[in-house]
């Protein structure tokens, strides 16, 4: 376990000590909430002259959220986790370019520790970022309205979901990066993956307004599983497994598959 922990600590030290990176990490959630919350606010389209129309639409399409930001916040958490996972995974290429990877390859450490340190550290980063995002979402005007019965169990499971999501995605990106040597190639691949993952999900819009082909895609997107289950926790409160169990099991399956691939690929894939 030694190298896995010490390499994770290395990642976290680098993160905390880089003031610009840390600041951006902290400020980014604000942008996400303000920009996406204002730009994509579909609820503004609800005509105000129909009595009770707003509640009707919110219940039918937005899981009964009080406003769009309340609907959006869990989705934003999932997307932020996706980006955090992506950057962590990508940092393997920096280790390669700065020569550090060759040192790791020659050391008698389990190969998976190189990948797992990225996975673990991005979990920690995402937890910090998510907490900030939740606080900001509550503080902004017309912001996140938590269910009145939202409790500590809801919060803990919400973090669990985030961790599961990060685990899957940072593994996925690490696997991609292991063999990629050029930054340009990596950029192209991650851009290709990111936008579809973000928009073909229920992170920002309810699937009810999507065409049926897209609904099919959305249902298989881990971002949707995470966003939907966190939304249930945030908007319904009074924690119970029943509403989210399916999504959690999907996420678990996703994680297990990714972890198996990580172990195999990192064992045989790391070469100069």
């Amino acid at each position: 376990m030694g190298a896995r922990i010490s390499l994770t600590v290395r990642e976290l030290k680098k993160w905390i000590r880089n003031p610009v990176q840390l600041f951006i990490t902290m400020i980014q959630p604000l942008f996400w909430i303000l920009l996406f919350g204002s730009a994509f606010d579909l609820t503004k389209l609800i005509p105000s002259n129909i009595p009770g129309g707003s509640a009707l639409v919110m219940n039918a399409y937005f899981m009964g959220a009080k406003n769009y930001i309340s609907f959006l916040t869990p989705g934003m958490l999932a997307i932020m986790a996706l980006f955090s996972a992506m950057f962590s995974g990508m940092s393997i290429i920096w280790d390669r370019r700065f020569g550090y990877l060759s040192k790791l390859i020659v050391a008698p450490i389990p190969r998976d520790s190189i990948v797992l340190s990225k996975v673990f550290s991005s979990m920690v980063k995402a937890i910090v970022q998510s907490s900030i995002l939740i606080v900001i979402a509550i503080l902004v005007p017309n912001g996140l309205v938590l269910s009145t019965s939202f409790n500590i169990a809801d919060l803990l499971v919400l973090y669990l979901i985030l961790i599961m999501l990060i685990m899957g995605f940072s593994s996925l990106f690490s696997i991609i990066v292991i063999r990629v040597k050029k930054m340009e190639t990596l950029m192209a691949i991650t851009n290709l993956l990111n936008l579809p993952l973000m928009f073909a999900s229920t992170a920002m819009f309810p699937s009810a307004i999507m065409p049926s082909w897209l609904k099919n895609v959305v249902n298989y997107n881990p971002i949707s599983w995470a966003a939907d289950s966190m939304r249930t926790l945030v908007l319904q409160g009074s924690f119970q497994w029943s509403g989210i169990l399916n999504d959690l099991l999907y996420l678990l399956a996703f994680d297990i598959i990714m972890m198996v691939i990580v172990f195999i690929v990192s064992r045989y894939g790391f070469e100069e």
Binding site: G2, S6, K14, S102, K103, V106, P108, E272
Partner: protein, 327 residues
């Protein structure tokens, strides 16, 4: 039995490039072995195979009797590597880099600290140990890199181009540190290099590799002896008369009526005899210059290339990169 034993080692990369073509090596414990060759000759590929980074296509390499493929894990514990490109983490402090490296080898925190301090003192970095590596100069980084390859007390240290991109002064200092390491720890050092002076001053034995094959091997003086001659250039008051004195010497060249040049196999023993003759013949010497054979001439003889000419574009790029990163 040598501490490094290599038998008919081959590496063929995808696309059929034979980077290393059936080489044999036998390196003794405590030796500093220099691996010389032009760019793309197969030096780094050999190091990568010996340090378990890549698998050989064929042949066998044993480190302390252990196979680099089958006993990979054990081999890794025994060796230290200082790769060609800098491999210290500049966002960490000097001491943190060493402690992190030590954790890879399962060393305890106190053990690591003790060893780190000892090594830091050895390369005069102790006072800078709590500074971030990003504030280090190029030479300091390279020194830190050097000792981080030694943190776990390996039996063999691989140094891949340890002084590439460093200025002459820093380079000479690095040699100093490297020989200090051998003196202190009796460690076996396998060093690849471009700089012939470096190989000459550091190495007990040298192998020259070209096109993936070892073309010649021996101690620096053995190798220099294969090129043969010392060149003596002498100014005398009468070169015609002087020629008669040199009757027993071949290859005499008269450059002007006062300057004459000739080759002898060993100037140290020949010159006293010559001086005696000059004295007996009542001649006067105005100036004398002796050129000893250098590894440059050895290199030229065996690879047909001048070392200097061979600093290819890739080299220059790498050097530029190293310099940029240091700033």
């Amino acid at each position: 039995m040598g501490i490094i034993e290599v038998n008919k080692l081959v590496k063929i990369y995808k696309g059929g490039i034979r980077a290393v073509d059936s080489i044999n090596l036998n390196i003794k414990k405590g030796e500093i072995y220099g691996f010389l060759g032009p760019n793309g000759a197969g030096k780094t590929t050999t190091v990568k195979m010996l340090t378990t980074m890549i698998k050989p296509t064929a042949g066998q390499a044993l480190i302390n009797g252990l196979d680099v493929v089958k006993d990979q894990a054990k081999v890794r514990k025994m060796i230290g590597l200082v790769p060609q490109d800098l491999s210290v983490d500049e966002d960490l402090k000097g001491i943190e880099n060493l402690e992190l490296q030590a954790s890879f080898y399962g060393m305890s925190k106190s053990e690591a600290r003790e060893r780190a301090n000892e090594l830091l003192k050895l390369v005069d970095l102790y006072d800078a140990k709590d500074r971030y590596v990003s504030t280090y100069s190029g030479g300091m980084r390279k020194r830190l890199d050097l000792i981080s390859g030694l943190i776990h007390n390996p039996e063999i240290l691989f140094l891949d181009e340890p002084t590439l991109g460093l200025d002459v002064q820093t380079r000479t200092k690095m040699w100093d540190y490297i020989s200090r390491l051998r003196k202190e720890y009796g460690i076996t050092i396998f060093i690849t290099t471009h700089y012939l002076e470096e190989a000459d001053s550091l190495c007990d034995r040298i192998g020259i590799i070209d096109h993936g094959k070892i073309v010649v091997e021996g101690t620096p003086s053995e190798l220099k002896a294969t090129v043969g001659f010392d060149v003596v250039e002498i100014n005398v008051d009468d070169s015609e008369r002087f020629k008669n004195v040199l009757k027993d010497v071949n290859d005499i060249e008269i450059l002007s009526d006062r300057t004459i040049r000739f080759k002898v196999s060993e100037s140290e023993t020949y010159l006293p005899i010559l001086f005696k003759k000059i004295y007996e013949n009542n001649l006067k010497i105005q100036r004398i210059k002796i050129e000893k054979p250098s590894l440059d001439s050895v290199f030229l003889k065996y690879t047909g290339k001048e070392m200097r000419e061979h600093e290819s574009e890739e080299d220059i790029m790498r050097m530029m990169r190293a310099i940029r990163r240091v700033r």
